[in-house]
Protein backbone atom coordinates (compact mmCIF):
# COMPACT_ATOMS: atom_id res chain seq x y z
CA UNK A 1 0.00 0.00 0.00
CA UNK A 2 1.30 3.39 -0.94
CA UNK A 3 1.32 5.30 2.26
CA UNK A 4 2.84 8.48 0.91
CA UNK A 5 0.21 8.67 -1.82
CA UNK A 6 -2.49 8.40 0.81
CA UNK A 7 -1.07 11.07 3.06
CA UNK A 8 -0.56 13.32 0.07
CA UNK A 9 -4.23 13.06 -0.76
CA UNK A 10 -5.16 13.68 2.85
CA UNK A 11 -2.91 16.68 2.87
CA UNK A 12 -4.53 18.17 -0.23
CA UNK A 13 -7.96 17.64 1.25
CA UNK A 14 -6.89 19.42 4.38
CA UNK A 15 -5.37 22.32 2.43
CA UNK A 16 -8.57 22.65 0.42
CA UNK A 17 -10.60 22.74 3.58
CA UNK A 18 -8.60 25.36 5.44
CA UNK A 19 -7.49 27.67 2.62
CA UNK A 20 -9.84 30.59 2.05
CA UNK A 21 -12.07 30.25 -0.97
CA UNK A 22 -11.16 32.82 -3.54
CA UNK A 23 -14.43 33.23 -5.27
CA UNK A 24 -13.94 34.78 -8.68
CA UNK A 25 -17.44 36.24 -8.75
CA UNK A 26 -17.06 37.97 -5.40
CA UNK A 27 -13.57 39.17 -6.33
CA UNK A 28 -14.77 40.49 -9.67
CA UNK A 29 -17.69 42.28 -8.04
CA UNK A 30 -15.35 43.94 -5.53
CA UNK A 31 -12.94 44.88 -8.32
CA UNK A 32 -15.82 46.32 -10.36
CA UNK A 33 -17.15 48.45 -7.52
CA UNK A 34 -13.81 49.73 -6.25
CA UNK A 35 -12.28 50.23 -9.69
CA UNK A 36 -15.43 51.93 -10.90
CA UNK A 37 -15.52 54.19 -7.87
CA UNK A 38 -11.90 55.24 -8.42
CA UNK A 39 -12.61 56.07 -12.07
CA UNK A 40 -15.79 58.00 -11.17
CA UNK A 41 -13.76 59.92 -8.60
CA UNK A 42 -11.15 60.59 -11.29
CA UNK A 43 -13.93 61.92 -13.49
CA UNK A 44 -15.09 64.21 -10.69
CA UNK A 45 -11.54 65.53 -10.20
CA UNK A 46 -11.18 66.05 -13.94
CA UNK A 47 -14.50 67.95 -14.15
CA UNK A 48 -13.43 70.06 -11.19
CA UNK A 49 -10.17 71.09 -12.87
CA UNK A 50 -12.09 71.99 -16.05
CA UNK A 51 -14.27 74.36 -13.99
CA UNK A 52 -11.04 75.86 -12.66
CA UNK A 53 -10.05 76.75 -16.21
CA UNK A 54 -7.85 73.81 -17.26
CA UNK A 55 -8.15 72.37 -20.77
CA UNK A 56 -9.76 68.96 -20.94
CA UNK A 57 -6.41 67.29 -21.58
CA UNK A 58 -4.60 69.09 -18.76
CA UNK A 59 -7.52 68.43 -16.40
CA UNK A 60 -6.94 64.71 -17.02
CA UNK A 61 -3.28 65.07 -16.06
CA UNK A 62 -4.17 67.07 -12.95
CA UNK A 63 -6.69 64.37 -12.01
CA UNK A 64 -4.05 61.64 -12.43
CA UNK A 65 -1.54 63.57 -10.34
CA UNK A 66 -4.19 64.08 -7.63
CA UNK A 67 -5.00 60.35 -7.60
CA UNK A 68 -1.27 59.57 -7.40
CA UNK A 69 -0.89 61.97 -4.48
CA UNK A 70 -3.87 60.56 -2.56
CA UNK A 71 -2.73 56.98 -3.16
CA UNK A 72 0.78 57.65 -1.94
CA UNK A 73 -0.49 59.48 1.13
CA UNK A 74 -2.78 56.53 1.97
CA UNK A 75 0.11 54.13 1.29
CA UNK A 76 2.28 56.01 3.76
CA UNK A 77 -0.45 55.97 6.38
CA UNK A 78 -0.78 52.19 5.93
CA UNK A 79 -4.39 52.50 4.83
CA UNK A 80 -3.96 51.64 1.17
CA UNK A 81 -2.81 48.07 1.72
CA UNK A 82 -5.86 47.43 3.90
CA UNK A 83 -8.22 48.73 1.22
CA UNK A 84 -6.25 47.05 -1.55
CA UNK A 85 -6.50 43.64 0.10
CA UNK A 86 -10.27 43.67 -0.47
CA UNK A 87 -10.33 45.38 -3.85
CA UNK A 88 -7.80 43.25 -5.75
CA UNK A 89 -7.56 44.45 -9.33
CA UNK A 90 -9.94 47.31 -8.48
CA UNK A 91 -7.09 49.25 -6.90
CA UNK A 92 -4.07 47.98 -8.81
CA UNK A 93 -5.35 48.33 -12.39
CA UNK A 94 -6.11 52.08 -12.10
CA UNK A 95 -3.23 54.56 -11.84
CA UNK A 96 -3.51 54.10 -8.05
CA UNK A 97 -1.84 50.68 -8.43
CA UNK A 98 1.11 52.19 -10.25
CA UNK A 99 1.53 54.88 -7.58
CA UNK A 100 1.24 52.35 -4.76
CA UNK A 101 3.78 50.08 -6.47
CA UNK A 102 6.29 52.95 -6.32
CA UNK A 103 5.59 54.34 -2.87
CA UNK A 104 5.21 51.07 -1.00
CA UNK A 105 8.76 49.73 -1.66
CA UNK A 106 10.18 53.25 -1.22
CA UNK A 107 8.92 53.16 2.37
CA UNK A 108 9.61 49.47 2.90
CA UNK A 109 13.23 49.50 1.74
CA UNK A 110 14.46 52.85 3.01
CA UNK A 111 16.34 51.00 5.74
CA UNK A 112 18.57 49.61 2.97
CA UNK A 113 19.68 53.10 2.04
CA UNK A 114 18.51 56.04 -0.03
CA UNK A 115 20.16 54.87 -3.25
CA UNK A 116 20.02 51.09 -3.53
CA UNK A 117 17.12 50.82 -1.09
CA UNK A 118 14.52 53.51 -1.59
CA UNK A 119 15.37 54.75 -5.07
CA UNK A 120 16.14 51.40 -6.69
CA UNK A 121 13.21 49.50 -5.19
CA UNK A 122 10.81 52.28 -6.23
CA UNK A 123 11.08 50.91 -9.77
CA UNK A 124 10.69 47.20 -9.11
CA UNK A 125 7.21 47.25 -10.65
CA UNK A 126 7.11 50.72 -12.19
CA UNK A 127 10.37 50.07 -14.08
CA UNK A 128 9.06 47.20 -16.21
CA UNK A 129 5.87 49.17 -16.91
CA UNK A 130 7.93 52.14 -18.11
CA UNK A 131 10.35 49.94 -20.11
CA UNK A 132 7.68 48.04 -22.03
CA UNK A 133 5.44 51.09 -22.34
CA UNK A 134 8.31 53.08 -23.85
CA UNK A 135 9.35 50.26 -26.20
CA UNK A 136 5.79 49.90 -27.43
CA UNK A 137 5.46 53.65 -27.91
CA UNK A 138 8.68 53.64 -29.99
CA UNK A 139 7.25 50.88 -32.15
CA UNK A 140 3.99 52.80 -32.52
CA UNK A 141 5.93 55.97 -33.40
CA UNK A 142 8.03 54.17 -36.03
CA UNK A 143 5.00 52.62 -37.70
CA UNK A 144 3.20 55.95 -37.58
CA UNK A 145 6.21 57.76 -39.10
CA UNK A 146 6.42 55.44 -42.08
CA UNK A 147 2.71 54.88 -42.62
CA UNK A 148 1.16 58.32 -42.14
Amino acid sequence: MDNSEYSKRKYHQMVDRVSPRSNILVNSFKAFCSGGAICAFGQALSNFFVTQGATKENAGIFASVSLIFITILLTGLGVFSKIGKHCGAGTFVPITGFANAMASPAIEYKSEGLVLGMAAKMFTVAGPVIVYGTLTSILVGLVYYFVK
Binding site: G78, S81, G90, F98, M118
Partner: protein
Protein backbone atom coordinates in the same frame (compact mmCIF):
# COMPACT_ATOMS: atom_id res chain seq x y z
CA UNK B 1 -24.08 60.59 -16.99
CA UNK B 2 -20.32 60.80 -17.47
CA UNK B 3 -19.89 59.51 -13.90
CA UNK B 4 -21.92 56.39 -14.66
CA UNK B 5 -19.96 55.76 -17.86
CA UNK B 6 -16.66 56.24 -16.02
CA UNK B 7 -17.78 53.92 -13.23
CA UNK B 8 -19.02 51.12 -15.48
CA UNK B 9 -16.20 51.15 -18.04
CA UNK B 10 -13.47 51.64 -15.44
CA UNK B 11 -15.01 48.89 -13.32
CA UNK B 12 -15.13 46.51 -16.27
CA UNK B 13 -11.44 47.05 -17.06
CA UNK B 14 -10.65 46.18 -13.44
CA UNK B 15 -12.83 43.05 -13.67
CA UNK B 16 -10.78 42.00 -16.70
CA UNK B 17 -7.65 42.38 -14.56
CA UNK B 18 -9.26 40.43 -11.72
CA UNK B 19 -10.22 37.54 -14.01
CA UNK B 20 -6.67 37.39 -15.39
CA UNK B 21 -5.37 37.40 -11.81
CA UNK B 22 -7.71 34.65 -10.59
CA UNK B 23 -7.85 32.39 -13.63
CA UNK B 24 -4.28 32.52 -14.94
CA UNK B 25 -0.81 32.45 -13.42
CA UNK B 26 -0.07 35.98 -14.57
CA UNK B 27 1.20 38.02 -11.61
CA UNK B 28 -0.15 41.49 -10.90
CA UNK B 29 3.04 43.23 -12.12
CA UNK B 30 2.78 41.40 -15.42
CA UNK B 31 -0.86 42.38 -15.75
CA UNK B 32 0.14 46.02 -15.32
CA UNK B 33 2.78 45.66 -18.06
CA UNK B 34 0.29 43.84 -20.29
CA UNK B 35 -2.37 46.53 -19.82
CA UNK B 36 0.01 49.39 -20.60
CA UNK B 37 1.30 47.65 -23.73
CA UNK B 38 -2.27 46.83 -24.83
CA UNK B 39 -3.39 50.43 -24.26
CA UNK B 40 -0.38 51.69 -26.23
CA UNK B 41 -1.10 49.41 -29.21
CA UNK B 42 -4.82 50.30 -29.23
CA UNK B 43 -3.80 53.94 -28.92
CA UNK B 44 -1.50 53.55 -31.92
CA UNK B 45 -4.45 52.43 -34.02
CA UNK B 46 -6.47 55.36 -32.72
CA UNK B 47 -9.01 52.99 -31.19
CA UNK B 48 -8.44 53.83 -27.54
CA UNK B 49 -9.09 57.52 -28.13
CA UNK B 50 -12.68 56.74 -29.21
CA UNK B 51 -13.02 54.79 -26.01
CA UNK B 52 -11.76 57.81 -24.01
CA UNK B 53 -14.28 60.09 -25.74
CA UNK B 54 -17.01 57.75 -24.58
CA UNK B 55 -15.91 56.81 -21.06
CA UNK B 56 -13.68 59.73 -19.97
CA UNK B 57 -11.86 58.90 -16.76
CA UNK B 58 -13.20 55.34 -17.00
CA UNK B 59 -10.73 54.86 -19.84
CA UNK B 60 -7.92 57.22 -18.79
CA UNK B 61 -7.54 56.30 -15.11
CA UNK B 62 -6.90 52.54 -15.58
CA UNK B 63 -3.41 51.64 -16.82
CA UNK B 64 -4.36 51.05 -20.48
CA UNK B 65 -5.06 54.79 -20.46
CA UNK B 66 -1.42 55.34 -19.52
CA UNK B 67 -0.39 53.27 -22.55
CA UNK B 68 -2.72 55.28 -24.75
CA UNK B 69 -1.17 58.50 -23.47
CA UNK B 70 2.25 57.21 -24.55
CA UNK B 71 1.02 56.33 -28.05
CA UNK B 72 -0.83 59.61 -28.46
CA UNK B 73 2.13 61.67 -27.24
CA UNK B 74 4.53 59.83 -29.53
CA UNK B 75 2.38 60.35 -32.62
CA UNK B 76 1.95 64.02 -31.83
CA UNK B 77 5.70 64.39 -31.37
CA UNK B 78 6.33 62.62 -34.70
CA UNK B 79 4.01 65.14 -36.36
CA UNK B 80 6.00 68.01 -34.91
CA UNK B 81 9.58 66.74 -34.98
CA UNK B 82 9.67 63.87 -37.45
CA UNK B 83 11.77 60.81 -36.74
CA UNK B 84 13.26 62.18 -33.51
CA UNK B 85 9.75 62.30 -32.07
CA UNK B 86 9.73 58.48 -32.13
CA UNK B 87 12.24 58.59 -29.28
CA UNK B 88 11.17 61.68 -27.36
CA UNK B 89 7.37 61.38 -27.51
CA UNK B 90 6.83 58.52 -25.08
CA UNK B 91 8.87 59.93 -22.22
CA UNK B 92 7.54 63.43 -22.73
CA UNK B 93 3.94 62.30 -22.42
CA UNK B 94 4.47 60.34 -19.21
CA UNK B 95 6.84 62.87 -17.65
CA UNK B 96 4.20 64.65 -15.54
CA UNK B 97 2.71 61.54 -13.94
CA UNK B 98 5.99 59.70 -13.41
CA UNK B 99 7.79 62.72 -11.99
CA UNK B 100 4.91 63.34 -9.61
CA UNK B 101 4.97 59.70 -8.51
CA UNK B 102 8.75 59.85 -7.96
CA UNK B 103 8.47 63.05 -5.90
CA UNK B 104 5.57 61.86 -3.74
CA UNK B 105 7.10 58.40 -3.27
CA UNK B 106 10.40 59.91 -2.21
CA UNK B 107 8.74 62.22 0.30
CA UNK B 108 6.59 59.33 1.58
CA UNK B 109 9.73 57.20 1.93
CA UNK B 110 11.42 59.89 3.99
CA UNK B 111 8.40 60.74 6.15
CA UNK B 112 6.72 57.38 6.80
CA UNK B 113 8.02 54.21 8.40
CA UNK B 114 7.03 50.70 7.31
CA UNK B 115 3.82 49.54 8.94
CA UNK B 116 3.13 46.15 10.46
CA UNK B 117 1.48 43.97 7.85
Amino acid sequence: MDYIKAFVIGGLICVLGQILLDKTNITSSRILVLFVVAGCVLGGFGLYEKFVEFAGAGATVPLPGFGNLLAKGTMKEVDEMGLLGVLSGGFKSMAGGVSAAILFSFVAGVVFSPKEK
